[in-house]
């Protein structure tokens, strides 16, 4: 490893699964017997960087922890600072925050659907679903100014209001997704090939999910009723009826396999649309931020003393931030934890006993900030030979398996 790659190699934020992540598998024939995970190849030291920044600067750093969850981390961070400093967020800002967070969930879940289709070898579905995702990204650009990294969160509220003229456009976009939802559902839930590739594959039992403290759709697909929007409602979620979605809503049974994870994410798309509609109907008027002048806000935070936790149900699960303010310009502690950090260990029970060709879809099924396996080392027990498979080889194996079993 060269020196440039880790000049500041510190910081326990764990956004890196999109980037290098090494898996070591021990296989017997085609069957996986042992899984070793080796993350940390792309640790950026974000918490360490946060030590030299004031709370407002950290919002933008937190936004860049993940390119897809770019509303989730600032949401959790702002809540942590607000809890620590005792700031109450105006109601209108709470509603705007929820609208942005749910729009993010729509685009994230559609992105995931595309990735899953790609891993199975349905590239036309990938193109079509990502085409459908453009619509919500355009809407986000209209509302916040950016397609990703929205820059809309501020301690004590949001930076931009949603005007009356923008509401018809939001409704129009929601109608568009309601229209195409039937098609998405038909492709993913009724296609016999997808069912063959995903049913009883990558099973995570309810007990394993509880023991490993899994979060988000991964845990809900195993039948656990866990969703922060339901259990500990914050912001506008406290006014809305949000229920955790488990796969038995649709099929009447819980298997905890990849197919169930698809069901949960698709149903959450519908749920997000309903939440946004409720928000638009009930949105109160008023201020959108507690303190408009940033210098004044910074001064207030400089005098604050206290600690706070901020939690948010991101598309992938619970994001939690902890902040401690100690009457100084810089926060004393800032700790961030992304959902994949908790879901990491669930790969082990999911992958053991599976075939090599199932690795891509099982890994993608927890929606790690993208399953990019640069390098997979495979130890063949039969002849003791060590082979390295690249992502391309694995993808090829996965596509071949789909062709083989397609009816």
């Amino acid at each position: 490893m060269n020196k440039e790659s880790y000049s500041i190699p510190i910081g326990p934020v764990h956004p890196s699964l999109k980037e290098p992540m090494t898996f070591n598998f021990e296989i017997y024939g085609e069957r996986i017997e042992k899984v070793n995970l080796a993350p940390g190849d792309n640790h950026r030291g974000i918490e360490f960087m946060g030590r030299q920044r004031n709370p407002i600067q950290i919002i933008y750093l937190a936004e860049r922890i993940c390119g897809i969850c770019s509303a989730s981390h600032p949401f959790a961070f702002c809540r942590a600072v607000e809890n620590a400093a005792g700031i109450e967020v105006p109601e209108r800002a709470q509603y705007i925050r929820v609208i942005i967070a749910e729009l993010e969930r729509i685009h994230s879940h559609i992105l995931w659907a595309g990735v899953a289709a790609h891993e199975l070898g349905f590239d036309s579905v990938l193109y079509l679903s990502w085409r459908a995702r453009e619509k919500v990204l355009d809407l986000l650009e209209d509302l916040t100014g950016n397609r990703i990294n929205y820059g809309i969160f501020m301690i004590g509220g949001v930076r931009r209001d949603i005007s009356e003229e923008q509401i018809p456009r939001i409704r129009e976009t929601l109608e568009y997704y309601k229209d195409i939802y039937g098609k998405i559902e038909d492709i993913f839930l009724n296609d016999p090939t997808i069912a063959l590739r995903t049913k009883n594959v990558g099973v995570l039992t309810k007990e394993d999910a509880l023991r490993l403290c899994a979060v988000g759709p991964t845990t809900r697909a195993s039948g656990i009723n866990k969703d922060i929007r339901q259990d500990q409602p914050y912001s506008a979620y406290a006014d809305l009826e949000v229920k955790a979605i488990t796969p038995d809503v649709l099929t009447g049974e819980v298997n905890g396999d990849v197919y169930d994870r698809i069901i949960v994410r698709l149903l959450e798309l519908v749920q997000s649309i309903q939440i946004i509609e409720q928000c638009l109907d009930n949105m109160p008027s008023g201020e959108i931020v507690v303190e408009k002048k940033l210098v004044k806000l910074l001064n207030q935070l400089k005098k604050a003393k206290g600690e706070g936790i901020g939690r948010h149900e991101a598309p992938r699960g619970e994001v939690i931030h902890y902040v401690k303010l100690n009457e100084s310009e810089l926060p004393e502690v800032w700790k961030a934890r992304a959902p994949t950090y908790n879901n990491l260990m669930t790969w082990v029970p999911m992958l053991i006993g599976q075939q090599i060709a199932d690795i891509p879809i099982v890994i993608a099924s927890i929606d790690p900030c993208i399953a990019c396996m640069d390098r997979v080392t495979i130890l063949n027990k039969a002849n003791g030979q060590k082979d390295t498979l690249t992502k391309k080889d694995l993808h090829e194996l996965s596509v071949q398996k789909t062709r083989r079993i397609a009816p």
């Binding site: 190699p9 764990h14 403290c213 656990i224 506008a236 260990m345």
Partner: protein
Amino acid sequence: MEYIKPGKIIELFEEKFDGSVINSKIEIKTAGLKKNSYNVIWLQINPEDLKNIVKFLCSITPFPHFAMISGNDIGENIELIYHFSIYYGERFKETSISLVMHLSKKNLKILTITDLIPGAQTAEREIKEMFGVIVEGLPDLANIFLPKDFPKGVYPLRKDEKGAAKMVNKEEEVKKVE
């Protein structure tokens, strides 16, 4: 499992672990137009009793959700906070419980809780690397977040002389492990 109110939970802890609970507070947070509320519990405890307290927490509710461990270097001591939440599954019932502990830098040792909550392994490995806390009972595995050739005896999130601040500008002074 029966729902126990936050005040009662603290009483139970104080009763069961006499003298171990140093500090406690309950925060009530409200949100939305209807101002519904949920509870956050902070407990400062004696680090030696961590394992028993977590065991007791598991007896109150079968699978407490373990979120993360946050750490802070406060001079003589390292402050560790174990963030849990219990009673998930019902609206407004979920209660966050944060266990605060102060570990002396002269004796940085804590018992692992992975036998009770296997999901805590990643977090325990992380505090081991970042703060140099010895987690007793945790298998000695390779670095999880730091590179394999990271210098020994440097703990990135420490704020004292063992911290990584010197690596930012004077990297050549830090010896590398073979």
